[in-house]
């Protein structure tokens, strides 16, 4: 028998959990270095490239922020579902269908002024994403279909629909036969936050304007929707009746039913909200960065969102933090791809390794390993 034993902690750690995260994160990066070394690359150097790509320069923050926007929105919705113990892993498909809903509006009414176009486009994206997610909710509550399976399958269906539209009815006649839609009208394009002309106009000095221009880079006004959605989400979870019902039903569904909480309606609600947020994320991303519909909109933000939600333990502020971290790593992996010729799927590997090490590290939040009291050893062996 070893001289150590595992005991469950009665008092939660305070700052210890931050240290645990840092150690687990460092460990996961070391594992990645090992994976790079196995492929004959410079392991630690690769990790350096990865981190400097995502966080090393002023301009990397702009790119990181750009990717963090859709990840944050999707993760916010996913976390809401997880809070109710509804295992929605379909943010990816909801992201796609939401984008299609928004594109439909943008392409159908190109002549609208911006103040009609923007709300209309975003609302129709949210509606489409929300309804797509609600399908899985209804399947679950009405016919007992497992939502993990249905949301996953709906992801594939959503992507097929995207392909059908982009290779068929929505293909740009002037697009040299590439699978892309026509460009959106000017009114349907979300601009970058940092528009130097505007900010110099209100009297900021050139130096600051320049620094901020680098810092924000391509990050677009979707960042505003993150702030609004995040604030609303935490407000309603803390203060709202429905928020309380979601927390209670997620904690004990049976108690919730006996207490008259409309459980099925809540499931539909959280799924709809998640789909709407994912749809919003997809449309903003498409409008701001591509300015038209392309197959490239599907890059796995919906899956990263699941990882983020777990890492953040479903807490809004932490979701923002982890969305930023994982977005930065995605940017860093792009750097790695260029410099070391690593396959792009390395980003997924990295995410998976971080998730596993950090979750495994959380064991030390609940348990402590202590040396067994000396006096007890002889008796135990007998």
């Amino acid at each position: 028998m070893s001289g150590w034993r595992i005991v469950s902690r009665t008092e939660p750690r305070e700052w210890g959990s931050v240290v645990i995260f840092a150690v687990a994160f460092a460990l996961s990066l070391l594992i990645c270095a090992l994976l790079l070394a196995v492929q004959g690359k410079d392991g630690l150097g690769g990790i350096g490239l990865l981190l400097s790509g995502g966080f090393g320069h002023l301009y990397s923050y702009g790119e990181t922020l750009l990717k963090a926007i859709p990840i944050f929105l999707c993760s916010l919705g996913v976390a809401l579902c997880f809070r109710l113990q509804v295992w929605n892993i379909g943010a990816e498909g909801q992201y796609v269908i939401g984008t299609l809903g928004g594109c439909w509006f943008a392409l159908s009414f190109p002549g609208l002024p911006v103040w009609l176009m923007m709300p209309g486009m975003l609302a129709s994206a949210m509606l489409a994403g929300g309804l797509w997610a609600a399908v899985a909710a209804v399947l679950r509550q009405r016919w007992g279909m497992n939502e993990i399976i249905s949301t996953l399958m709906l992801n594939y269906i959503g992507i097929e629909i995207l392909k059908h539209l982009i290779y068929g009815p929505w293909k740009d006649p002037a697009g040299m036969n590439f699978p892309v839609s026509p460009y959106f009208a000017e009114s349907a394009i979300i601009g970058p936050v940092w528009n130097p002309d505007f900010w110099t106009g209100i009297g900021l000095s050139d130096g600051i304007v320049d620094t901020l221009a680098q810092l924000f880079g391509r990050a677009h006004w979707g960042i505003l929707s993150c702030l609004i959605a995040g604030a609303l989400c935490s407000f309603f979870l803390r203060k709202g009746m429905r928020g309380f019902e979601i927390t209670a039903a997620g904690s004990n569904a049976k108690a919730a039913r006996f207490a008259g909480i409309p459980y099925s309606r809540l499931v539909v609600l959280v799924m709809f909200v998640c789909g709407a947020l994912a749809g919003l994320a997809g449309m903003q991303e498409t409008s701001a960065t591509l300015n038209r519909l392309e197959p490239h909109i599907v890059v796995g933000y919906g899956y990263t969102a699941v990882v983020v939600a777990w890492l953040a333990k479903l807490r809004t502020m932490r979701i923002a933090f982890f969305a930023f971290i994982l977005a930065g790593l995605r940017v860093g992996v792009e750097n790695l791809q260029l410099e070391l010729q690593i396959s792009s799927s390395f980003a997924n590997t990295l995410e998976g390794i971080i998730l596993i090490t950090v979750l495994a590290g959380q064991f030390f939040n609940d348990y402590a390993i202590r040396r067994k009291p000396r006096q007890s050893v002889p008796g135990a062996g007998v």
């Binding site: 203060k239 009746m241 927390t247 209670a248 004990n252 108690a255 039913r257 006996f258 008259g260 007998v382």
Partner: protein, 555 residues
């Protein structure tokens, strides 16, 4: 090994058994700030039946979990046969011959009795099922624990399942058997049989530890009684020295020792002191203000005097894995308590689910406050409606991971909401007042539901349900597992609530039914065997037989 301390503060052991089988020495256990056990010394002798008495949160369950290896003590040691042992898991305790029969059975319903006994048995690879059946049959005959080894556990009554649990321990040759409130799920007859089996086990030299709140039982069966209060052993008696019931109860509560503290407060709310209860309820009432009668669109008559408040007629519902409900009819008016009396698993659960709108009816109808059940649950008035005190406090009545404010809000949330937002500050004040007035320990509203003992959780739940001024109350085994003081308190609150509502008391405890009810309806296999007034002496005499299904005797 020579360091075994010779001091012990337990009672002297008549009968000359020189060394106790198990000795607990200075056991202490802390959960954060809470002192669950403190410096406990206890001896368990061979062939003795020891009762462990104490109110909720006194630390009995913690102590027995330590002995059974589920928890590890912070200080102190366990000495088995004069040898210091450390139990890191229940398995270690099993190897030392110590086993526990939990309140909630740990059996697999779809497997046979013999298979269940076989499961987890040391060296199970080498024992054939046929041999196991033989061995189970032999053991059950030896100890008078009648049960068919080939029967599927799912088809057994609660009493039979308990016998399977006991057989599991006997089969492992456990020498110390711990019973956690074993009679809670038994009919009076089954309880008698259990006591006989316990006696026989003791005669064979086994040691029995028996946790119970029912004083008459404890006096009937035990050789020794130890009383726990606030985590400490305060008294040890051997059979001959045991004082009367009232004295035992007093020692358990420590009322004569601690004047003016919270325990004395709860003792004030004993029968006949409704005035003081009304006095203490002020704080909560001030916070809640006058609850205006709920207005429900187009349903002006909702709060009109309705007579009866709850009525069932010809209710049938079938259930896949249980007896279901067959043709049940009764009605309860304001000011009445009807006890639905029966052994657990005879359709009570299904019936309550049907009333709560969670189970469809095959035929018949239920009406709550003059509204069909579906319609009632669609309206769900925030107050003045139906209050429900579930049997399963942790699984149905509360969310163990949420704090007391959230648990309080679980059913009262509509009283604290406006425009879809919750007034959490007011809810916090109300929870604090409720904790104070209902004497819930520990009194921290930020404590999690899981941190409360069963009795304290029940006080919170009862307070929460009564807060809504329900006009119809369903109370399911409301005092199961509660100590005498808490039980009296719940009873008294129900008696007061009766003045403004009709109560359906679902219980398996005859004495509870007789103490509270105006009418008794005995249920067996989903049917009402008989419904009669509590005044009907002749029928009251035959309750035990009716509960066991002797329909012919119901007359």
């Amino acid at each position: 090994m020579s360091a075994i301390s010779q001091h012990t503060n337990s009672a002297p052991q008549p009968g000359g058994s020189a060394q106790p089988v198990v000795r607990l020495e200075g056991i202490s256990k802390f959960f954060g700030q809470v002192r669950a056990n403190y410096d406990i010394h206890l001896s368990i002798g061979a062939g003795r039946i020891k009762a462990l008495l104490g109110e909720n949160g006194a630390g009995k369950s913690t102590l027995m979990s330590i002995l059974a290896g589920r928890l590890q003590p912070d200080f102190g040691r366990i000495v088995v046969d004069g040898e210091h042992r450390v139990f890191r898991s229940p398995k270690d305790a099993h190897l030392a011959g110590i086993g526990m029969v939990y309140q909630h059975f740990m059996l697999i319903d779809s497997m046979s009795v013999a298979d269940n006994v076989l499961l987890g048995h040391e060296g199970s690879f080498r024992i054939s099922p046929a041999k196991m059946r033989e061995r189970v049959a032999k053991l059950s005959a030896e100890y008078g624990l009648e049960v068919d080894p080939a029967a599927r556990v799912g088809s057994l009554s609660m009493g039979e399942r308990q016998r399977v649990e006991i057989l599991k321990l006997l089969c492992r040759q456990s020498r110390v058997l711990i019973f956690d409130e074993p009679t809670a799920v038994l009919t009076p007859t089954e309880a008698e049989q259990l006591f006989k089996a316990m006696r026989r086990m003791a005669e064979q030299g086994k040691s029995i530890v028996f946790i119970s709140h029912k004083l008459p039982e404890v006096l009937e069966i035990s050789d020794e009684i130890s009383i726990l209060r606030r985590g400490e052993v305060v008294d040890n008696f051997v059979r001959a020295q045991v004082p009367d019931e009232a004295e035992l109860a007093r020692r358990m509560l420590g009322r004569d020792l601690r004047k003016g503290d919270d325990i004395a407060l709860s003792a004030e709310i004993l029968p006949g002191s409704s005035a003081s209860d009304a006095g203490t309820a002020q704080g909560l009432k001030e916070i809640m203000g006058e609850l205006p009668l709920p207005k429900i669109k187009g349903r002006g008559k909702f709060l009109a005097q309705s007579e009866p408040v709850l009525s069932l007629s010809g209710v049938r519902c079938s259930a896949q894995d249980s007896v279901g409900v067959h043709d049940v009819s009764f009605a309860i008016a304001k000011g009445q308590i009807l006890a639905l009396l029966g052994v657990a698993g005879n359709g009570q659960k299904e019936l309550v689910e049907a009333i709560c709108g969670l189970r469809g009816l095959d035929s018949g109808s239920i009406s709550i406050l003059d509204h069909p059940v579906d319609e009632y649950w669609k309206m769900q008035p925030p107050h003045g409606g139906l209050g429900y005190i579930p049997e399963d406090r942790r699984g149905v009545a509360s969310c163990p991971d949420l704090d007391l404010v959230d648990n309080f809000l679980l059913t009262t949330r509509k009283l604290f909401s406006r425009y879809g937002l919750l007034d959490r500050k007011r809810a916090m004040r109300a929870t604090k007042a409720l904790i104070r007035e209902h004497n819930v320990l520990p009194g921290n509203p930020k404590a999690k539901g899981s941190e409360l003992s069963g009795g304290n959780l029940q006080k919170l739940i009862v307070g929460r349900e009564l807060l809504r001024n329900p006009r119809c109350i369903i109370a399911e085994n409301p005092t199961q597992g509660l100590d005498v003081a808490a039980m009296e308190e719940v009873w008294q609150r129900l008696r007061i609530a009766k003045e403004s509502s009709g109560i359906l008391l679902v219980t398996g405890d005859v004495s509870e039914a007789l103490a509270l009810a105006d009418y008794l309806a005995v249920i067996y296999r989903g049917k009402i065997v008989d419904l009669f007034s509590v005044e009907d002496r002749a029928k009251v005499e035959r309750i035990g037989l009716m509960m066991a299904g002797s329909a012919s005797l119901a007359g």
